[in-house]
């Protein structure tokens, strides 16, 4: 389904270190009826990555930009610039296109006001800290949807967290039956994870 008002462009790292936060982020969007859109959902190598991003940004009313991994965590690790670059494209799209002027952003960070040290230009955006926790991501995204998309009667963050755990149990059962290993289940490709979650949501 590709509906502008339900699409959420996700700008975050797609490495295994970030998966523990990405799984509940995707679950929270899906269980509230939104479509997570990510750059790796279509692996068409003939398309430039930047062009792919622009298409996703144009297709999505909402965006979540996680800037918590900008800082190098080890000596000699390269500073990560993809996330602020994509945020810049998204901001430009909203700023310079009348059709996209209603786009809404959520900026996620690890600790409150940490972003100010690296990117103070975004002061005034919707910024929430997830404290690097799975529950923190659920709460930040769920609360932002209530505030921004004006959702009503949304489940509590704790209920979403419990449901996410139970959903993962169900996915685990099916995948183990299909001879997946625990690692293969925990790090399955994101489009596959989206399909598995969708299958288990009551409104599908």
């Amino acid at each position: 389904m590709n509906v502008f008002s339900k699409n959420v462009f996700i700008n975050c790292p797609f490495d295994s270190d970030y998966y523990p936060l990405l799984r509940p982020l995707i679950y929270t969007l899906l269980c509230n009826g939104f479509n997570p859109r990510i750059a790796i959902e279509n692996s068409d190598s003939g398309q430039l990555r930047a062009d792919k991003l622009v298409e996703l940004i144009k297709d999505s009313k909402y965006s979540i930009h996680d800037l918590s991994r900008l800082q190098a965590s080890e000596k000699d690790e390269i500073f990560r610039l993809n996330m602020p670059f994509e945020l810049g494209i998204d901001y430009g799209a909203r700023r310079f296109s009348k059709r996209l002027s209603e786009k809404k952003f959520l900026i996620l960070e690890k600790e409150r006001y940490k972003y100010m040290q690296a990117l103070s230009d975004i002061n005034g955006f919707d910024i929430k800290a997830h404290n690097n926790s799975t529950y923190g991501v659920i709460k930040a995204v769920r609360d932002w949807l209530v505030e921004t998309a004006k959702l009503k009667k949304v489940d509590s963050p704790t209920k979403i967290w419990d449901d996410f755990n139970e959903c993962y149990g169900s996915i685990y059962d099916e995948k183990i039956e299909d001879k997946f290993t625990a690692d293969e289940i925990n790090f399955m490709p994101i489009p596959e994870l989206i399909d598995e979650i969708m299958e288990r949501l009551p409104h599908n």
Binding site: P24, Y135, T158, D162, F164, N165, E166, G169, A182, I185
Partner: protein, 75 residues
């Protein structure tokens, strides 16, 4: 499979404790400070009720699943 709903051991966010919760229930059966105590308690319940027990990680994924339902005997 069993007719009884499975138990889950889930992290209580922001408190660091662990709850034993039956699938679909709105409240926890019991909350423990230590995960090992939650496992012990839930394991006994699951055996008694012949159901499954999912032990979750702090990320919500599965650390271990224990099944106590009676499988059909296949000869």
């Amino acid at each position: 499979m069993t007719g009884n709903k499975a138990y889950h051991i889930i992290l209580v966010p922001e408190k660091g404790s662990w709850k034993v919760k039956k699938a679909g229930a709105s409240r926890a059966t019991k909350v423990f400070e230590k995960k090992a105590d939650a496992v012990l308690f839930a394991d006994t319940l699951s055996k008694k009720e012949k159901t499954a027990l999912y032990i979750h990680t702090i990320e919500g994924t599965i650390e271990e699943k224990r099944s106590y339902y009676e499988e059909a005997l296949v000869l």
